[in-house]
Symmetry: D2
Amino acid sequence: MQFASDNTGPVHPAVMAALSQANDGYAAAYGADPWMDEVRAQVRETFEAPEAAVYLVATGTAANALILASLSQPWQTVFCARNAHIDEDECAAPEFFMDGAKLTLVDQSHGKMSASALQTAIAAQQSRGVHGVQRGPVSITQATESGTAYTLEELRGLTGVAREFGLPVHMDGARFANALVRLGCSPAQMTWRAGIDALSFGGTKNGLMGVEAVVLFDPEKAWEFELRRKRGAHLVSKHRYLSAQMAAYLRDGLWLDLAGKANAAADRLAGVLRTQGVSPEHAVDANMMFASWPREQHHRLHAAGAKYYLWDGSLEGADPDARLMARLVCDWSTSPDAIDSFAAHFSR
Amino acid sequence: MQFASDNTGPVHPAVMAALSQANDGYAAAYGADPWMDEVRAQVRETFEAPEAAVYLVATGTAANALILASLSQPWQTVFCARNAHIDEDECAAPEFFMDGAKLTLVDQSHGKMSASALQTAIAAQQSRGVHGVQRGPVSITQATESGTAYTLEELRGLTGVAREFGLPVHMDGARFANALVRLGCSPAQMTWRAGIDALSFGGTKNGLMGVEAVVLFDPEKAWEFELRRKRGAHLVSKHRYLSAQMAAYLRDGLWLDLAGKANAAADRLAGVLRTQGVSPEHAVDANMMFASWPREQHHRLHAAGAKYYLWDGSLEGADPDARLMARLVCDWSTSPDAIDSFAAHFSR
Amino acid sequence: MQFASDNTGPVHPAVMAALSQANDGYAAAYGADPWMDEVRAQVRETFEAPEAAVYLVATGTAANALILASLSQPWQTVFCARNAHIDEDECAAPEFFMDGAKLTLVDQSHGKMSASALQTAIAAQQSRGVHGVQRGPVSITQATESGTAYTLEELRGLTGVAREFGLPVHMDGARFANALVRLGCSPAQMTWRAGIDALSFGGTKNGLMGVEAVVLFDPEKAWEFELRRKRGAHLVSKHRYLSAQMAAYLRDGLWLDLAGKANAAADRLAGVLRTQGVSPEHAVDANMMFASWPREQHHRLHAAGAKYYLWDGSLEGADPDARLMARLVCDWSTSPDAIDSFAAHFSR
Amino acid sequence: MQFASDNTGPVHPAVMAALSQANDGYAAAYGADPWMDEVRAQVRETFEAPEAAVYLVATGTAANALILASLSQPWQTVFCARNAHIDEDECAAPEFFMDGAKLTLVDQSHGKMSASALQTAIAAQQSRGVHGVQRGPVSITQATESGTAYTLEELRGLTGVAREFGLPVHMDGARFANALVRLGCSPAQMTWRAGIDALSFGGTKNGLMGVEAVVLFDPEKAWEFELRRKRGAHLVSKHRYLSAQMAAYLRDGLWLDLAGKANAAADRLAGVLRTQGVSPEHAVDANMMFASWPREQHHRLHAAGAKYYLWDGSLEGADPDARLMARLVCDWSTSPDAIDSFAAHFSR
């Protein structure tokens, strides 16, 4: 009954096997390994982007912060949803890597910014000439922090607003695969064809050990990115072990299989809870759901060993009937048994 | 004949096995895994430092830059050897993480600063009150970039100077184990007992996949360090895979065995070259040697498949007799055959 | 009919005279001049704060940004009103000087944060341990950007919330004198006795040429502040010309006279507009007022030579009856004639 | 007998008069004043640079740091003389404004870098690809910190090296006028015609109250510079008082007259000391000289009220015959009497 995070599950065996296979003899360091050549080719083919610059880093925060730094200037502001990971969960890493730029928080609903909210926020910024910060990149999270996924139309609406103001667009795709599988579209459709300029392409939450790809659809900033990565201490020396993970991930569609499994688990979870009268707070478009139920029930589940975070409120509290919101996250390894067991404890 | 770097060799099988064992079911993220508890206990025991704060990061540059940032202020300068890795090979990562502090380069001989050179450099800094940068940490590399190791007496000489000025001391121990094995002393003797305040404890160059420990002998800045690590995007989510490597490394003295093997390989290499009339440029105290021979011979070795870096000069050049300096690095996996083969091609 | 800003008016003659008197022979640079000794003594006496550290800088943004940097860490967030100058009008200077810290915007009404809104904002921040930014200083603007002034009780309410969380409090007093005169209290009452730790004490908007004092009621960070000021390129060499201005300002209550005149002008302006049916948007507690009237009337006033900023909307626009908000600012030199003339054009 | 600094003398009366004249009624803030229009035209005409972007700031450190930031990237290094003001006297302001870039110190003799020393330093940097910092701007100080002036040929030699590597060139002209008067060339010849891209054009040390002009001969970075200036808190609100100073400075060649007077005073000082057997350490090309004499004599001069800095050593010390180096600086207001009086005390 492990629903705390997609960071707590194991690495897929095929990825472990790839690491073992890569661990043979010598390999050039710092990304000059042959597995990286394979990764570059795979990403370009997967995204139908033969010119894209492709890099690997060990954390999603690094991917986000380095990309945003490459797309912005220190006197600009980044537009993102009010619950974006880059604002709430990265301890000012984006501001650090951007050398002091700001984030402007855009109202969201179910984790999504609307095109009109984005338009309003951008228009409101920069009426003050040199006195105010200047407009910088737009950052879109797909799937969102609420477990929802923007439709292609919604994405194009947001990027259209950005383009209107001449602003580049970043996609935080820590759960890219989960959204993609749900939308059933191609990676190109959900990125550059929808107006995305640079992507944090997540792997860690979807069965890898710790690798995220950076995809710059316009390679113009490639060398700057490499320098920023090194300056950020994010250029890994024994790089083959990052490359080998990502190569295994993209080989034979493993990444899509894993995301499909995680999404299916979340669907099953939502289904069994619905039968008990619990409605998800947001559409379950990816591998997680949010829902509320009484404190007393939370106590019972925790006592039974269920692991998940409360998104608001606290287990401590006098009122046993107070409803507290839970976040339940599945990954590729979540078993139907765990879900059914959770449901059983839920109803008891 | 792979002597390019200790970053190009494979991960030791015991470490791979530990990763596989750790890959079972769920584990708390971000360092709350049980392997990290083991690492913390191991490091404290190994260093006889029961209060030390211990953290893991994925790169040596991160360890160095984050420690220096924790020990300094942005208006200070760090004192280090003129050929220090933090100055030459980290693309201004220390300056970035220190929010713009400086490095003051101290003259070195065979990679080592003398106490008097350090004293002179520190004294010269800060005669200008608020106009000049203020004195900051001293950073010592052990083993040095020249493959030499400071004796305990030399270390105490340097830290004595630092203490005289009230400055904290960092040790860049990317090749800590190699120096330790050579000195035959205890980890405590080579660190806090010799006046070191914080250590970058290398693992990657010595058989790990990509982990360095940060050891803060004074835990006062522990929480600050954690925030800096997160802000630097260096807090790894699936942290168990870092912990498991480091736990395996410290278990049963594996780290010392591996360093011993690498040092022995360097000794053998120096020995066979000496028999051919080539003298090392510096004492071979760790796992690498520097030596010069004619360009023509470099051409022959490269043609035969030998891999190593030229430390000055270039293979291109008209004069076949010009002597060019090579850096030859061994790791735990360097075979006697590779060395003998190198020697054979050398003499041909 | 100059109501654009309190930055557009002339320097008071007594200040010009003081500059001339200071321009005699030699004087030590960088703040070691005798006028600075006088300023230090004056500020300490004025604020009944014999231990306070006192510094001068040339811009209000420098005063704010340097103080906030001294009170914060780069992984923290500053709490301020949603319309604070530090957020809207300083082009990310605070973020720059704080090495990448954030601002958290607190809802305001008539320019003022309520204690409960501040409490909510602080409580909401930092539920995420190392993943979120940490709580940093509270910054209060007095008088506010809306031309209102917090009462002493309101100030104590805000600082009480800050103290509850252990956070230091900065006051942006670009229009400190205007608020003080209106409240009729002592400088100590409106600052350290109300829980303020550090003050940007404005002079430029109130008749000086370009000087703001920094007052650190707790001198612990004094040396750090001096280093930050120098590193920010804000240590003026011919410092006597800053000192002489500030000394003249504080001598014989000139600063209070000037603020009193500016406030009286704003009162008169509000009065004559009220007679024409125009109500101020916010209480006129300092030297400026905000009010709305039809676009057509704005056109007429501009054509007649009135200078002021539109706070929302634009003169261009089809609808002549649309109401647009104006900001009208007075300074010590605003004449009754200018106000009456404005009123006359208004009614025409 | 005031020879401590050109920061300790008074403002020229014509400049004070200009300030008074500018202090009349209202003027637009932030550089939109008519005096700034005059300054812009004057600078462009003076430098025969009709396209140049021209800005004013209050300190020389701000001019240097902002220009260098505009010409560099945070992963680059600036090449400058080992005794440059930007390294020794600005408390890491350049590194701060450059967001963490480095300075590489080039050997100098009498304050001057040679073209070959610069060439060597630049060539040595960046043999390490992404691992080392990248080559950035060259910064030349004219007149130098040693009181010497580069000849036009020397300047062209340095800028030729920079151009060879594709690097932009900054001139720190805190004492620009002094060097120019000595060389007897045109401002254009000593700047853009000699390969200078951007100039810190000093005024403060030469009779102004506190203004330096920034001249960007290539206006491409003009808007970026404006944003950096604001973000650095260096955009002055009542800007007319900066503009009026600089306008008076450039009007009718006042700036050249003042520099000529200061240089002549230094010449006279050098002359009278030479007659007493004291030789300047460096050529006296500008308004200051360096020379050594016994500690006992320093004591006598200090006792008589002479003010100057010791450049090495300390008045305290046992040996009365030890020779200590003095720096003696003149400005426009240094009187022949003061010099003769100094000489008289010297010989006593």
